[in-house]
């Protein structure tokens, strides 16, 4: 009986696991969520000494996580842009899923940022006394606005739940909100563009950190544009990857193959462009930017170990060029495993890029009497990290179960039956 | 629909005015001063004293603020007038030698630095500019303190005193900044903060 308890909430024409199995799936995530909540509580109550961050490693796992999930969450804005503005109508099949992913990524990032700062109750200071020259101000403003936009974009997805739909006013609001969605898609693109950029700018402007510092265009360092481009490149990849995972986990077909192909093709093109500009930027940095500031670039990699030249190679060639080529060649892209593998590699490449800018920048010494330092996060940091992952998993799972994340699912189920 | 709107507005305004009325009352706590004090009795025709006679500077330029008991006792070792307040003061503080714990209306937050010497001695700012005409008051104003911060009401934003006396400048950060801006004095946060 318990298996059918929520049947009235599940959309018609799609199949979902029995409720008990859903609970079984959700339980470990909920446990992780609780553990993370406890760690977050500790940090908020006692202070940040619960983390292994210190005066040198001022940013740790959390900032790395923020930058990464926000880059991956770019799939939301970019899919919206492709669908509503560039009219790539086949992407309608994943837009809801992309919105939920974006929402999860951004709200998770904001949540963990609130724990990461020393005085969360002063978060409004940035709005009240903004220093408009700081990249972090831009990030704060844009992320807040964009999270609002994502919440608004989530509303129609949410209102289409089977039970809520029975209330006529809900459906009417959903309809009218959906009609103006192009406005939100455009605004979201603008906001996301700026804060992806300012997250890159965050490190590119650090003139005291020659490892991260980059030459600029107007008021923005080159990392501003590279972060935007890389986020746009992996956004579709991440959407494809999550869709593929969802198909794997649920054992159902959720979108048509052409959607994967479109996502892969766009991702591949942008990734190739990104790799090209990243190479240019790296060459400029090695030959001009870093030496001009008294730091010959090759010295950054002399510490070896975790931060050797392999990291540069892995980031650009192995996890940038290779997936780009796979995604660009139609025959390779056509194979699902290869496509998803390439998408995963692209996501890893961007993750590594964010790792380099956050962790490696802080690990490298700037002063002559200093040395390379390593840092390993405390359990509280890992648990808070787990909190975000579990939160994302749960929100996504609930959304998948009760909302229509993949509108093609019903059609695909019928086509399959006909066969 | 209109009825709902009217109901909403009515409820909203009731809640708003209730909050408007109650929050300041809940937020501040009244504390008694140790004794009654009349400024005008000292500074008026009869007393003839100036502010600096009691509120003096020390040799290192710091401001002494409210005088210690010995300053009071210098004149009031025995009653000089007829008032009950004076008799009480002598009985409770002067004779047993107990320092009265005056509550300071203008006590600034811990992180603020206000050099009286720079303003009064060098800048020739009149006391009334910030403190208002407290020197002409006949009795002490009610001392109200913020429940959370423990800072007196006057530095937390109360502009007009309950005695009906004009308190010209005010002693909030905004008041400081307004005056400094008006006089085009270079300032950074650390000019006034510590």
């Amino acid at each position: 009986m318990v298996d059918r308890i929520d049947e009235a909430w599940i959309a018609r024409g799609v199949r979902r696991a029995p409720f008990s199995r859903f609970l079984l799936w959700a339980a470990p995530w909920a446990a992780l969520l609780l553990l993370g909540a406890y760690a977050i509580f500790l940090c908020l109550r006692d202070g940040l000494f619960h983390t292994n961050m210190d005066n040198r490693y001022v940013f740790g796992l959390w900032i790395f996580l923020d930058l990464t999930v926000i880059a991956l969450g770019a799939g939301a804005f970019f899919t919206g842009f492709l669908l509503y503005v560039l009219r790539k109508t086949e992407l309608k099949a994943v837009i809801n899923s992309a919105v939920v992913i974006g929402l999860v990524c951004y709200s998770g990032a904001v949540l963990i940022l609130a724990v990461d700062v020393g005085q969360p109750l002063r978060a409004w200071f940035t709005f009240y006394h903004p220093n408009v020259h700081s990249m972090l101000t831009e990030v704060t403003f844009c992320i807040t606005c964009y999270l609002t936009v994502l919440l608004i974009e989530y509303v129609p997805v949410f209102l289409k739940n089977r039970r809520l739909k029975w209330k006529p006013s809900m459906l009417v609001f959903e309809y009218h909100l959906h009609k103006v969605m192009v406005v939100f898609a455009l605004i979201g693109t603008l906001l996301s563009f700026f804060h992806q950029g300012s997250l890159g700018g965050l490190f590119g402007v650090l003139r005291g950190r020659p490892f991260a510092f980059r030459e600029g265009l107007l008021i923005w360092p080159s990392t501003f544009f590279l972060f935007v481009l890389s986020a746009m490149a992996v956004g579709p990849s991440f959407v494809a990857l999550t869709t593929g995972l969802a198909e794997k986990i649920t054992g159902r077909r959720l979108v048509k193959n052409e959607v994967y192909q479109t996502l892969g093709r766009i991702s591949g093109k942008l990734l190739l462009a990104y790799v090209f500009f990243k190479c240019l930027d790296t060459l400029l940095w090695i030959n001009q930017t870093a030496p001009e500031r008294g730091f010959p670039a090759h010295r950054f990699y002399e510490y070896g170990g975790a931060f050797g030249t392999w990291i540069l190679f892995a980031e650009i060639a192995l996890l940038g060029l290779v997936p780009a080529l796979i995604l660009l060649k139609p025959e390779w892209r056509a194979r699902r495993g290869l496509l998803l593998g390439a998408a995963a590699m692209a996501c890893l490449g961007v993750t590594l890029n964010r790792f380099v800018f956050t962790i490696q920048t802080l690990a490298l010494p700037t002063m002559p009497f200093d040395r390379l330092l390593l840092y390993w996060p405390s359990w509280q940091e890992f648990a808070a990290f787990g909190f975000v992952v579990a939160y994302g998993m749960l929100v996504y799972s609930f959304s998948y179960r009760y909302l229509t994340l993949f509108p093609q699912e019903r059609e695909l189920a019928m086509t399959e039956a006909r066969r | 629909m209109i009825r709902t709107g009217i109901l909403f507005l009515a409820g909203f305004s009731v809640a708003l005015s209730a909050g408007w009325w109650s929050v300041p009352r809940l937020l501040y706590r009244t504390e008694p001063q140790p004794a009654q004090f009349s400024h005008i009795a000292h500074t008026g025709e009869k007393g003839g004293m100036s502010c600096e006679d009691c509120h003096s500077f020390r040799a290192d330029g710091t401001f002494a603020g409210i005088p210690k008991l010995e300053t009071c006792a210098a004149c009031h070792s025995a009653p000089m007038g007829e008032t009950q307040a004076e008799k009480d003061f002598i009985a409770r503080f002067v004779e047993p030698g107990v320092e009265p714990e005056w509550k300071v209306y203008s006590r600034q937050p811990d992180n603020a630095w206000f050099p009286h010497s720079a303003h009064v001695l060098r800048g020739k700012v009149a006391c009334e500019k910030c403190h208002g005409e407290i020197g002409k008051s006949d009795r002490l104003p009610v001392y109200r303190v913020h429940r959370f911060t423990g800072y007196p009401e006057d530095v937390m934003g109360k502009r007009a005193g309950p005695l009906g006396l004009k308190r010209a400048g005010g002693m909030r950060m905004d008041d400081c900044v307004a005056c400094h801006r008006q006089n085009r004095i270079e300032h950074s946060c650390l000019d006034c903060h510590k």
Binding site: G47, L48, F49, D54, N55, R56, V58, V117, G118, Q119, R122, F125, T126, H129, P130, N131, H133, S134, M135, L136, T137, T140, V205, L206, R207, G208, R209, P210, R293, G294, F295, R299, Y303, T366, M367, P368, F369, D370, R371 | A59, G61, T62, N111, W113, S117, A118, L121, R122, G123, K124, H180, R184, I185, E186, H187, S188, C189, L190, H193, K194
Partner: protein, 245 residues
């Protein structure tokens, strides 16, 4: 009404530290902590989570080690930490040349710490705690610490304020002269504090033996070092040490 600051010409306070004299005793660190109400470290604190505004580093020169006290350099050009703060909790005061850090405004995002190449900024990882009775000895001219905020050396701002009060009392005009706690405490008199607008002091800072840390970054630090040992000067120009300790 006369303008309060009008007769006060601006100052550019600076430090000149003689590395030949510094023997690494750490008196400056202690004096700094006492002056600025730095609480004793928590039992689980490490050298990397401490609240020291001033730290003395050992510089490996190949020969005899040198000691080098590092505090906030009060960078004058393109101050790296100032522009990055999202809410103006860092401020460069043109009247004194001191980079102000306002803990009450600070959110604790630590972006300024990442921006500082000298690692002169520290974070309050703990709630400050003083052993019973020790809070009686706190310096009233320096506000209490706050957990979750960033702070740093401000050239003993409380002492500057005290000097200003005294100057107003005495009717003196012009930039005030004072001595920060570290300079006062140094038994070898290695730390000198002065005003770069004072020609004599500025000339010493431009001395052939004088240098600044990471000058190539273009941050315009106002803490100068001086040494007669060429190998020390050479060692400070190096990159971070590779594989040591």
């Amino acid at each position: 009404m006369r303008k309060l600051g009008a007769e006060n010409k601006t100052a550019r306070y600076a430090m000149l530290i003689d590395l030949d004299r510094c023997n690494g005793c750490g008196a400056c660190m202690v004096a700094c902590a006492v002056e600025n109400n730095v609480p004793p470290p928590q039992p689980s604190a490490t050298p990397r989570t401490g609240l020291n505004w001033l730290r003395v580093f050992r510089l490996n020169t190949g020969g005899r080690d040198a000691f080098i006290p590092v505090m906030c350099m009060q960078c004058g050009d393109e101050t790296p930490c100032q522009s990055v703060c999202p809410q103006k909790a860092v401020e460069f005061d043109p009247a004194t040349g001191i980079v102000g850090q306002i803990p009450e405004r600070c959110l604790g995002c630590r972006y300024c710490m990442a921006a500082c190449p000298y690692q002169a900024r520290v974070f309050n990882w703990w709630d400050p705690q003083w052993p019973a009775g020790m809070e009686q000895a706190l310096n009233p001219r320096v506000s209490a610490r706050q957990r979750g905020t960033v702070e740093k050396c401000n050239f003993c701002h409380g002492r500057w304020q005290a000097a200003l009060e005294k100057a107003a009392q005495d009717g003196e005009s012009g930039p005030v002269r004072y001595t920060p706690a570290c300079a006062e405490a140094c038994p070898a008199q290695a730390i000198r504090f002065g005003d770069l607008n004072d020609e004599e002091f500025a000339a010493e800072c431009r001395d052939s033996g004088a240098f600044r840390l990471l000058e190539s970054l273009g941050t315009g630090p106002k803490v100068f070092y001086r040494t007669s040992r060429a190998e020390v000067r050479e060692a400070t120009r190096g990159f971070g040490e590779v594989k040591r300790g």
